[in-house]
């Protein structure tokens, strides 16, 4: 059986703009949410989502219908997010922990944008702490954790999206979870 997305993709390939708009509708909010969790910046998340669909549109004919469409589109999206995280501070590695502040790395130093959805709501202390913890996750753990907790993908699916062996995904989930646990340990 052929998936809805594959059918829409074929229609879009034949020049049907409405079919492509349907694909956008199916994935736009999910991708936006995911990009936001990776970047913690609304503007950047919007840019990434736009970029994702542009790439999908340009490469529709290369979509392999035997692969799940969601895997394909998440792969494009995570790659773009990781690219952006890398580009933010090109001079030194963000993953390196800074000497002065124990447990803080480059990500923690980046001022997050003020217009976060979180700030529009009143956050409890607990929520603020966990938000902070997730925001400071190093990029390679963040992509895994976002796919795991936000998209609720299985380890195998995450491996497919990120094109890495399941064992690596597993290790990253474990390390990411421990990272968060340590950040929360004395605060909760």
């Amino acid at each position: 059986m052929i998936s809805v997305e594959a059918r829409l993709a074929r229609l879009a390939l034949q020049g049907d703009q409405r079919a492509f708009a349907e694909i956008v509708e199916l994935y736009q909010d999910k991708l936006y949410h995911m990009a936001y969790r990776m970047l913690y910046n609304r503007q950047e998340a919007e840019d990434v989502v736009q970029d994702v669909f542009l790439r999908v549109y340009k490469n529709l004919e290369r979509y392999d219908a035997t692969m799940k469409f969601s895997t394909w589109i998440y792969r494009i999206a995570t790659n773009l997010c990781i690219d952006r995280l890398r580009k933010r501070k090109p001079v030194y590695s963000l993953d390196a922990e800074s000497g002065e502040h124990e447990g803080l790395d480059g990500y923690a130093m980046i001022p997050s944008d003020n217009r976060t959805p979180e700030s529009e709501l009143l956050l409890s202390d607990t929520q603020r702490i966990i938000h902070q913890a997730i925001a400071t996750l190093p990029a390679k753990y963040k992509s895994v954790m976002v796919l795991r907790y936000l998209e609720e993908l299985s380890l195998q699916e995450i491996g497919d999206v990120l094109e890495m062996p399941v064992t690596t995904v597993k290790t990253r989930v474990h390390r990411g979870r421990e990272f968060l646990r340590k950040k929360l340990e004395h605060k909760l």
Partner: protein, 209 residues
């Protein structure tokens, strides 16, 4: 159970990947080790909080959403390149077959070109001392004895004497006198395909020896 092992099992448990038998083992360890029990509680709490945090407090209004949709749709390139035609897509999807087909085509056309260009008389054989060539006629005179094969290309072969081997005539004609004696095979090649096959087999057998 070692505490390090227990921590590994805890993660597997949270990933829903812990075999049933190991769950009992982990439980036994947690009952006896307060440190690990605390750790397990922290991990579970982290897990739950992360889940909740990722999922909630993210509001996208319908208006924002449709604005983004509009932005995406208007950013698409207006004119699509017409790359979707069946042939080019097929070529893109079957690179190896396409390359092989092109290779065969080039080989075949070069052989064909050689076939058409080659109009010079050529005589080949290990023993050509007694062969007489006049114009485009290659004669093996009566009484002559040729040791080995004789190949004539683009000419007439006129065999009156003895040939101790094969006689091959390529795009030409062969006359055999009643006095002629050919010990080997007599081959006449006229068709491009026969000629092609002949070229391939001779070049392969010459490679082999």
């Amino acid at each position: 159970m070692n505490c390090n092992v227990a921590v590994m099992l805890m993660h597997d448990y949270l990933d829903d990947e812990l075999p049933h038998d190991d769950i009992a083992g982990l439980k036994a360890h947690l009952d006896s080790c307060p440190a690990c029990r605390t750790r397990m509680e922290q991990l579970e709490q982290t897990e739950a909080l992360t889940h909740r945090m990722m999922d909630t407090h993210f509001v996208v209004t319908a208006e924002q959403s449709s604005q983004l949709t509009q932005r995406i749709m208007s950013s698409l390139p207006v004119k699509r390149r017409r790359t979707g035609s069946g042939f080019s897509r097929w070529v893109r999807n079957h690179p190896a077959v396409s390359v092989a087909a092109v290779f065969v085509l080039v080989m075949f056309s070069s052989f064909l070109a050689m076939w058409q260009q080659d109009s010079q008389l050529a005589v080949r054989g290990p023993d050509l001392a007694e062969v007489v060539i006049k114009g485009d006629t290659v004669t093996v005179p009566a009484g002559a004895h040729i040791n080995g094969d004789l190949t004539v290309e683009n000419g007439k072969a006129n065999v009156l004497g003895e040939v101790d081997g094969d006689v091959t005539v390529i795009s030409g004609s062969l006359y055999e006198a009643s006095t002629a004696h050919i010990s080997g095979e007599v081959k006449q090649i006229d068709q491009a395909l026969d000629w092609f096959w002949y070229k391939v087999t001779t070049s392969i057998s010459s490679l082999a020896y």
